[in-house]
């Protein structure tokens, strides 16, 4: 066996010491939690304890999907939220970031204002928006229907607008910072060749920051069934089933059963089922984005 030199041994010891806490934490709160969640999915609460139940929870999930309308709405709403984020949120974030990166007049103010909704506590933003939409907006624009949030038919769209409106902060910050690392000699030579503002955006900027865009898109898929769309802040535990989504459903049910935890096996099974759906989707998206996305050549 090859013997380690003394400095290398010290380096190794230092690494072990520094990584001890993170790795113990990872073992308990990632591996441990996920393992526990996995086993819980195959158990049921009976007489004060969790007992083995095989696939009973999964059978119940399938049954509930067939009989409970909330499940159907939750799937559709979660997917719509992600789709709108991709179609509207991502392009706008990229264009705003490019605007800031190119230091167009007023960019410092827009940068602060785009980030501001991320700074304002979510619950504060939700309450201000709710009161404004319900109380002030109908007075300001009489043609706008009243009670946009209370009416089940308009509530989802109203919340969706809110989600897009408040979503730009972190992404614009990250995209514009990554754009500032683009090789300026390449940009300058393209400018000498007469490249336009939008051509630079599409042919230089997007390919240059594509890995960062991929990261956000892929982690976005991971969040399809986790994103609550601030529904708990808007409606508490009483959101109408028509506007429900999976992130909200899982949080509401977890929060509602803090004493006995009797529903936790069912919720864990649901989480596991969603993971099984989302993992291949995420991997496929990552593969496609990396293979067919623009190349920075």
């Amino acid at each position: 066996m090859k013997k380690m030199s003394k400095p290398v041994l010290w380096d190794a010891l230092f690494c072990v010491l520094m990584l001890a806490y993170p790795l113990i934490h990872f073992s308990i709160f990632y591996i441990g939690v996920n393992f526990s969640s996995f086993t819980l999915a195959f158990k049921t609460y009976y007489d004060g304890e969790f007992v083995w139940a095989g696939f009973e929870n999964f059978r119940l999930i399938v049954y509930n999907f067939q009989t409970q309308p909330e499940y159907g709405y939750a799937v559709v709403n979660s997917l719509i939220n992600y789709g709108v984020g991709i179609i509207v949120g991502v392009p706008l974030s990229l264009i705003f970031s490019f605007f800031i990166y190119k230091k167009v007049k007023g960019y410092t103010i827009y940068r602060v204002l785009l980030f501001l909704p991320s700074v304002i506590p979510g619950i504060v933003m939700v309450l201000i928006y709710s009161y404004f939409v319900e109380r002030a907006l109908p007075e300001l624009i009489p043609s706008v229907p009243t009670r946009l949030l209370s009416n089940e038919d308009t509530a989802y769209m109203t919340i969706l607008v809110f989600c897009i409106f408040t979503s730009f902060g972190p992404t614009v910050l990250m995209y514009s910072s990554t754009m500032s690392g683009i090789n300026q000699s390449m940009v300058e030579s393209a400018e000498l060749d007469g490249i336009t503002f939008f051509k630079e955006f599409f042919y230089i900027t997007i390919p240059s920051i594509w890995p960062t865009i991929t990261t956000f898109l892929v982690s976005g898929i991971a969040g399809i069934f986790v994103n609550q769309m601030s529904l708990f802040s808007f409606k508490g535990t009483a959101a109408p089933i028509k506007i429900s989504n999976f992130g909200y459903f899982l949080y509401r049910e977890t929060q509602a059963d803090m004493v006995t935890h009797s529903t936790y096996p069912y919720l864990s099974a649901m989480g596991l089922a969603m993971t099984v759906i989302v993992v291949p989707l995420t991997l496929l998206a990552k593969f496609l984005l990396e293979k067919y996305g623009p190349k920075n050549d």
Partner: protein, 293 residues
């Protein structure tokens, strides 16, 4: 050339229009909330969008008085958490959690980026895999784990739970550490510095700006978070959790809109001050690579 200039100007004007509209809506919302919080309930009933007939801070005084929460202790007792208790809980919760949530990925990425041991690569791949492979619905298991280790209902327990290296900020630190030339460490080691000195006195000061930026982002994120405290530290309500409860409270007087908006402003002010002081630093240079090295 003239065509290019015209095309560029049109593009910029178009984006500017969208951004001006966005800014106008956002500022209007906030100004409306502040103005409404200064109206009496009667004034608000008949004047929802105009200036207050008389500016009054009565709503703030009342909101301060009514902003409280009856907390049930596990022992069976009940105590009242007032706004000052909630502010203190928020400072401890957000300050501590932000510190561990920033420090752990910073140190971990430092080790992975600066040392050449092959097994360290595994940690990098763990981060990537955990980002790409989402695990949904683990909240119940997390709660049970916290209970098992006695971490729930303790703010320090939350500091421990949030101190992990997974996530985007690992990549941000990682790319920053990778960019620092190795010569720095080597020169310091020739001068007799050990690994710990190199890390603390040479390399970490170089990423202090990034560390502080991420710390501030985390601080605001934890300050604003009420859902985690609602599950894990119910007996130590934070100010955001308090606002959620206050909004749903039916206590006499707390149901009028101007007073609730006053409550919102009370929660928002501290974090707004932090943001206004540090916004340049917070929005400094944070960049990261992709999911491939």
């Amino acid at each position: 050339m003239e065509k290019k200039v015209r095309s560029d100007n049109i593009s910029k004007i178009l984006i500017s229009v969208i951004l001006v509209s966005y800014s106008f809506i956002l500022i209007s919302l906030l100004v409306w909330a502040v103005l409404s919080s200064l109206k009496s309930e009667f004034d608000f009933q008949y004047n929802k969008i105009g200036l207050p007939k008389a500016f009054s801070i009565l709503n703030y005084q009342e909101a301060f008085r009514l902003f409280k929460l009856e907390v049930k202790l596990p022992s069976g007792g009940v105590y009242t958490a007032y706004i000052e208790n909630m502010y203190l809980n928020s400072i401890l919760y957000a300050g501590g959690c932000a510190f561990t949530a920033t420090l752990v990925p910073c140190i971990t990425s430092y080790i992975v980026a600066r040392f050449k041991f092959k097994p360290l690569k595994i940690i990098y791949y763990i981060v990537i895999v955990c980002m790409v492979v989402p695990l949904v619905g683990t909240l119940p298991a997390q709660l049970r784990m916290a209970e098992r280790f006695g971490l729930n209902e303790h703010i320090w327990g939350m500091w421990i739970m949030t101190g992990h290296f997974l996530g985007l900020y690992f990549l941000v630190f990682y790319s920053s550490f990778k960019m620092i030339p190795k010569d720095f460490d080597e020169a310091a080691k020739i001068d007799g510095a050990n690994n710990f000195t190199v890390m603390i006195r040479i390399i970490l000061p170089l990423v202090m700006n990034i560390f502080f930026t991420i710390y501030l982002i985390h601080f605001i994120q934890f300050w604003n978070d009420y859902q985690t405290p609602l599950l894990f530290i119910k007996t130590k309500p934070t100010i955001s959790y308090g606002l959620y409860a206050y909004d749903r409270s039916n206590e006499k007087g707390s149901s009028n809109t101007p007073m609730k908006l006053a409550g919102c402003i009370l929660v928002f002010i501290p974090v707004f001050i932090v943001f206004m002081i540090f916004h340049k630093r917070m929005m400094g240079n944070l960049s990261m690579g992709g999911l491939k090295e």
